[in-house]
């Protein structure tokens, strides 16, 4: 995500309680569309997608009174822009014990933007197993897709311009829950 710190003029578009509410809604939608979520496996995309996946898994457990398998999927090695940056440190890929073969995998990420991360995630999944189906849940969809990819569960659709940045902060990593919309520093 955007590296620079939230600008002083960045404004929050989602606050803590909003985030909790939309994650609850996403959990309900998953149960509804997956008809009870019996075979759902949540895979978060590091870093913040993993925390979101865990939160959704907790909500699913509350709703279905069953543990929902939840893991992480690092897509670094599958990125299509590797040669445009120095190599990144790898994050953990943690596939729950029963694997993903024949399961409904719900990928979880914080922001859906160009779609390239999700493309990489689909490639990574392909090397790990063969799910029954793959769905995508994101906290924010800010548009500007560069690939034919869409989300199945969206916390908030946020129309943005390319001169803007969207920054998601989560308590586990950043100490608080918020989504900030700001201007790119070099666009000012």
């Amino acid at each position: 995500m955007d590296k620079h710190d939230a600008q002083s003029d960045a404004r929050p578009v989602l606050e803590g309680p909003d985030i909790a509410r939309v994650l609850t809604r996403i959990a309900h939608e998953i149960v509804e569309r997956a008809k009870g979520a019996d075979d759902v496996v949540l895979l978060g995309i590091p870093t913040r997608g993993v925390f979101l996946a865990r939160r959704i898994a907790d909500k699913l457990e509350q709703i279905t009174e069953r543990k929902v398998p939840c893991g992480s999927l690092d897509i670094t090695m599958y990125r299509d822009d590797l040669r445009m940056h120095p190599p990144r440190a790898l994050a953990r890929t943690e596939i729950p014990g029963d694997g993903i073969d024949g399961k409904l995998v719900v990928l979880v990420d914080d922001v859906l933007f160009s779609g390239r991360t999700i493309r990489a995630a689909l490639d990574a999944l392909n090397d790990i197993g063969r799910p029954r189906a793959v769905q995508l849940a994101v906290l924010v969809d800010r548009g500007h897709r560069e690939l034919p990819i869409r989300a199945d569960y969206v916390g908030k659709n946020l129309p943005t311009s390319l001169r803007e940045t969207v920054k998601v902060q989560l308590a586990e990593e950043d100490g608080r829950d918020t989504v900030l919309l700001g201007a790119k520093p070099d666009a000012q």
Partner: protein, 328 residues
Amino acid sequence: MQRHLISAADLTRDDAVLILDTAEEMARVADRPIKKLPTLRGRTIVNLFFEDSTRTRISFEAAEKRLSADVINFSAKGSSVSKGESLKDTAQTLEAMGVDAVVIRHGASGAPYRLANSGWIDAAVVNAGDGTHQHPTQALLDAFTMRRRLIGPDAGLGQDLAGRRITIVGDVLHSRVARSNVDLLHTLGAEVTLVAPPTLLPVGIETWPCEVSYDLDSTLPKSDAVMMLRVQRERMNAAFFPTEREYSRRYGLDGDRMARMPEHAVVMHPGPMVRGMEITAEVADSDRCTVVEQVANGVSIRMAVLYLLLGGNEPAVTHTRTEEKQDR
């Protein structure tokens, strides 16, 4: 900017830990049904081996293939090199074929350094062992093996080997493995002791960042890992030691000696082992011996190194330690 991996001494502590952490993730790929990553697709790596070393070559080859690189194996035997072609011409010929990296094994100390620093080629150079100088990926895989065994695969992430006591036994004089390990283990905070007969220790060793002992038995109880180096039988004829028998009696690791090591301590060997010389079959086949793990870890480490050197538009391992090197 460091585009090459020539010496373990060039790695900073953070570089080394990054490589070990990356290798930890790479190791998990080996557990998947498809043991392959697309990361180095379209990159060409040549394994340029002027010395026979099947194990090292296939380890690099496995790492390169798991990262989807195109691999060219070049062995000096039966090639233009045996007809007198120079290292420079060989390297330039290969580079003309569009090679992104050269993994080189050479009998002459410093050959990879020359290849990387003489302006002969632009490709990244990875030292796969040069003469009696360095073998940095071996040191990294050894450190990786120690960290996994002594701390744990997950608990070890982000950790160095601070305070661990590592003993390296055998032909230090002719060993690139010993030199690389001393450099890297020191960088990672470990306390290294070299044990060998005085004839197999180089003159000038007093500046190395380690202890030196002639007595194996007194060192074993204070060791968290004991690394046995291969001792070639030919050394006997050059009067480095009187007989094989005497060498094994004084410096070989057998069951009795292993029993003097702390319970958690492991036995390591870079291979190939000379059973009955520096290590008995009892020790080599015991659970405490990590030889087979070291081989598996070698692939993970080499994947990590290749990813960090070639996976982006510039290497992630960027620090040189020339100044510190000169301090020693």
